[in-house]
Symmetry: C3
Subunit: 262 residues, 3 copies
């Protein structure tokens, strides 16, 4: 791995300790005698797929997660959005716990799930619900606070132009779809205050990219910049996403982002 030396750096043990559970997947946490300290890849991955373990330790956790170009909180938002959107519930448990540790509030994490129920479909969200229940219960999250009335943001948060375009495109052929898109998704959902408009944009961009719906990204990329995401944050979010949704999906999303935002 000669070239990798330039992108890899030694991971801090305390950081690794927090990360290990997400990857160990029920494997024993004790390092084998051949190892001197635990690594995020975990002993099974190291034993069976050493190449992948090297990338996990040196590139993903040793380099990418630690880059200051995107906050750990934002990286966690991108990661859980990808895992929910692609139905990877086995990996969600560890990463939802990390998200809460990285500053994502429970109300926001629940807001992500509501948001993605609409963008990715109920089955993906319902499957994630079980994981949320386990993580919230284990961390003693105050469920009552999630029940608090969620005020709607001002109508200015919604976009009349977007609604008109939807009505123009689908209003004749599928009037109910146009109505639901405008009233439920663009208006009611985006105006909910349990997740900021900026975070909704980040989560939407991540989910669309992970699902291969890069042909829908253009308006959400522009809207993301209007909502406060920087171009550098979006580029870094898609770089991070390459590891969780794969290089193929990241390359397609990056191609659109480069054209729309550069």
């Amino acid at each position: 791995m000669t070239k990798l030396k330039t992108v890899a750096c030694i991971a801090v043990a305390s950081l690794i300790g927090a990360m290990a559970p997400a990857f160990a997947q029920g494997a024993p946490q004790q390092p084998s005698s051949a190892q001197t300290s635990p690594r995020p890849s975990g002993p099974v991955q190291q034993r069976l797929v050493p190449g992948m373990a090297g990338y996990t330790d040196d590139v993903l956790f040793g380099d990418v997660w630690r880059r200051p170009e995107l906050s750990p909180r934002d990286r966690s938002l991108v990661t859980i959005a990808v895992l929910i959107a692609t139905g990877k519930t086995a990996q969600l448990e560890g990463h939802l716990g990390r998200a809460l540790g990285n500053g994502v509030k429970p109300m926001e994490a629940s807001g992500v799930l509501t948001h993605l129920a609409l963008y990715c479909g109920w089955p993906s969200a319902v499957s994630a619900l079980e994981v949320y229940d386990r993580v919230y219960t284990a961390r003693g999250v105050d469920m009552a606070s999630l029940q608090a009335a969620v005020p709607q943001l001002s109508p200015a948060a919604s976009e009349p132009g977007r609604s008109q375009a939807t009505t123009r495109q689908f209003g004749t052929f599928a009037p109910k779809f146009a109505e639901l898109t405008n009233e439920v998704v663009f208006d009611d959902l985006w105006r909910r205050s349990d997740l900021s408009a900026r975070d909704r944009s980040l989560v939407t961009i991540a989910a669309l990219s992970a699902m291969g719906d890069d042909d829908l990204l253009d308006p959400d990329l522009k809207r993301g910049v209007e909502n406060g995401l920087t171009r550098a944050e979006i580029a870094e979010a898609l770089t991070h996403l390459a590891f969780y949704a794969g290089w193929a999906k990241a390359t397609k999303a990056m191609t659109v982002a480069e054209q729309t935002l550069n």
Copy 2:
């Protein structure tokens, strides 16, 4: 949720009772003391993700499922097609039971699975098989009747024009693929009488949309209309699908449908 008042209506208790299992996912059916009647969202969703629970109760079950623009039987066909195509077996159990309750015959439900094995691949169908076994066994479905010889429909049900186009496109580069496409998929599968051509079209449109293969939809949309689906039914099927495959996939499919059929 001010705007939602216009799209929501109060759900009938008996309807909800039948729907709850599909969403409760092993959660206790007793409503918490704070509730006066069970709702389709279930107590876990209500407690952890109240925003999503509101959409589940008020929009998906309180409004969309009850619209007369598409029969409950057709909604069930769309729903199980999406769940099989996207590998959401956890949600399939409840919805397959509902499909049988909504008038989909066991022979037809099995026909859907055979059809989707070819369109979505064996692994998706094989994973669904276990769920079918549980549901059929629980409902005492007469398995012997499924074994009855399935007569082939008349050759007219297949399309010579389609076969010729396939041979022209793939016959030189991949002759075996052209042969299998024509003889197994277009001829043998589409002529099986365990599922009507109209239902095959509905299920194919739903599966292609859910898998993001909207670039293949055009011929199947036209064929669907020839097979007896109305434009309004297709528009409503894709509106329904938005909740099970997500808004992104529905938007892409609706864009093609609007262009092809409007």
Copy 3:
């Protein structure tokens, strides 16, 4: 199934014996009294979905898997790549065992997983890891041999032209993504000697096709031919893939392949 007679042939019993576990999914191996010999579809599929069982026995295993146009080893590589890329871990166990039986070495199978971690994302690879562990343990694979230092192939195996194109496209907007793409994916990964360049191409083409990323296939198809795959092997690999990723994904990939390679 009149037309199917032309594509079906009687399966050899010993072949079927080896194939059955992948499809039986925990179902009892004893054939029902109505059957005279076990068939790959298994008794549950035969009882519940006889149409699909017919295609499984007569077309998929009775015809496609036995065609000499692609070796069993290559068919196994395509199959496990598709299963990992689409997260079908339930089917992976049987097919990984068959892959090892068909001549894929454990080091190569591990190389496939490392390769697909980058192309399809960590969660897909991490979910497959558990299956690898069970299969390697059950077959007594010598784990120590997997730890052997993997020499890098010569730099000539990487392509300066490809790196320059990446830098030109993404270097300004997302410099870290361009760096990782060039140094980790195109250089380090593709030069690892645990999987040949020819097999990497086969696995990459299968994974991109199965994930619906056919818009990225063109350069990997050309590269595949440079790395030693024949056009006929690629056409047969995509024909085989139709059964594991579905006809829709195969049709899209075949369309690109026909245009790029014919």
